[in-house]
């Protein structure tokens, strides 16, 4: 039985990751989900979140993706992210400031405002960035 599968993480500015992995964890609009080998053909949109990749041997790699689409087709997974960054490249203080700012903005908004969805996205991205930069800091 195949225990690994091919993952490709691509953004408009290039291929970020390409290789065999054991497990991928991402968050869609319905919540977090994991993908293992031999997953059924599947498409989901992604919300801004941390994308966790477990490589064969147990090493875990993380990227913060700013939304996109995940597809599993014939056992291979493609993640089309509009942006991806490594936790090490994130400035934690700036990310936390962004999170506070987006949180204040959204608290003052009604859900019917046209900018609500975009602001919510910004908040989720800021939250994911702040959290991811925290975990990388702790592991050093």
């Amino acid at each position: 039985m195949a225990t690994t599968f091919a993952l490709q993480l691509v953004t408009p500015t290039g291929v970020v990751f390409e290789g065999e992995v054991e497990e991928v964890t991402v968050t869609g609009p319905l919540g977090q989900f994991g993908v293992l080998a031999e997953h059924i053909n599947f498409i989901s949109s992604l919300v801004p979140c941390a994308l966790e990749v477990k490589r064969s041997g147990g090493a875990v790699q993380t990227w913060v993706v700013s939304g996109g689409i995940a597809e599993v087709k014939d056992g291979a997974m493609t993640v089309l992210a509009s942006g991806a960054e490594t936790p090490a490249s994130i400035d934690r203080a700036a990310a936390e400031a962004d999170e506070r700012e987006a949180g204040e903005k959204i608290a003052a908004m009604s859900t019917f405002e046209p900018e609500y969805a975009a602001t919510l996205d910004a908040l989720m991205l800021a939250r994911a960035r702040a959290a991811a930069s925290g975990t990388s800091r702790a592991s050093h």
């Binding site: 500015t13 599947f42 498409i43 689409i69």
Partner: protein
């Protein structure tokens, strides 16, 4: 004939112009290389996205038409440069923009431009063309995903609110460093992917779709539009640098030719002066002897 001093001054001025054009050529060449690399790097994303969009948009009859009561209007995004000195790059592009406008007007649509780049904005202001939006001084680089996102968001919101019934983009397609072609493409409403005649229809793949097709399609549509705009921006950037490189190369060789002909003129003038002085001396000596 101009005086020796005037010619020398002119040579010095052409030389400094030549230095500038040569430097600009080198800068354009470096930027061109970077733009080409970005263009190559963006390809895996567009290919993967086209595959997903293709299987999703063909697998079910989804609504890609504008709202019923949409205004008969078109948004035309024109991607020109912020700076000049790039040969016929902008004038060729703006001619294509006018052509795109005429084509839309023939279909009874009123046109609003989205001017990207100072040269497009200046031109539309001068010709009193309707400008719906603008983005200028996109320095240092035009080909950024942020700008693509901004343009795509505007196109999509105008289209979905019914303010326009179609949206097009005019940009310069990059073929090679010396060959660029202005093109216009209609991005909205989305055209169904065309199948080459005789090719078997793609077998729709059975996907498990989350959260639902109805919610996923707008996400795919937005990504698709962003990728298309981003690609146009990158091509425009590469074309601009290619055009500038060619223009600066010919400016540099013109300067070399000018320096050569001025040098010849200068040598002639100097020789004439020497001859004249010699004649004076000889004439003076003859006069003393006599």
């Amino acid at each position: 004939m101009a005086s020796l001093k005037a010619i020398r001054r002119r040579i010095a001025s052409v030389k400094s112009t030549q230095q500038i054009t040569r430097a600009m050529k080198l800068v354009a060449a470096a930027r061109l290389r970077r733009a080409q690399e970005a263009l190559v790097a963006s390809r895996p994303y567009s290919h993967a996205l086209a595959r997903v969009a293709d299987s999703l948009l063909t697998s079910e009859g989804i609504n890609v038409a504008p709202p019923e009561d949409a205004a008969k209007a078109a948004l035309i995004v024109v991607i020109a440069s912020d700076r000049g000195l790039c040969g016929g790059y902008n004038s060729n592009l703006l001619r294509a923009a006018e052509e795109c406008r005429r084509a839309a007007e023939r279909e009874g649509l009123s046109v609003g431009y989205f001017a990207v780049g100072k040269k497009a904005l200046d031109h539309f202001r001068r010709t009193r063309a309707p400008i719906s939006a603008q983005s200028v001084d996109n320095l240092p680089r035009l080909g950024t995903i942020g700008l693509a996102r901004k343009i795509a968001a505007r196109m999509l919101s105008d289209f979905q609110s019914g303010a326009v019934s179609e949206a097009s983009i005019v940009y310069t397609q990059f073929k090679s460093a010396i060959s660029q072609r202005p093109v216009f493409e209609r991005l909205l409403p989305v055209a169904r992917p065309e199948r080459p005649a005789g090719a078997p229809a793609a077998v729709p793949i059975d996907y498990l779709v989350e959260p639902s097709r109805a919610e996923l399609v707008p996400v795919v549509l937005r990504s698709y539009l962003e990728a298309a705009v981003f690609n146009a921006l990158l091509q425009a950037e590469a074309s601009e640098q290619g055009a500038r490189m060619t223009a600066m190369d010919s400016a540099t060789s013109n300067a070399i030719d000018m320096i050569a002909s001025y040098t010849l003129e200068m040598n002639r003038a100097r020789q004439a002066q020497i001859t004249r002085e010699l004649m004076d001396i000889v004439g003076g000596a003859e006069a003393l002897r006599g």
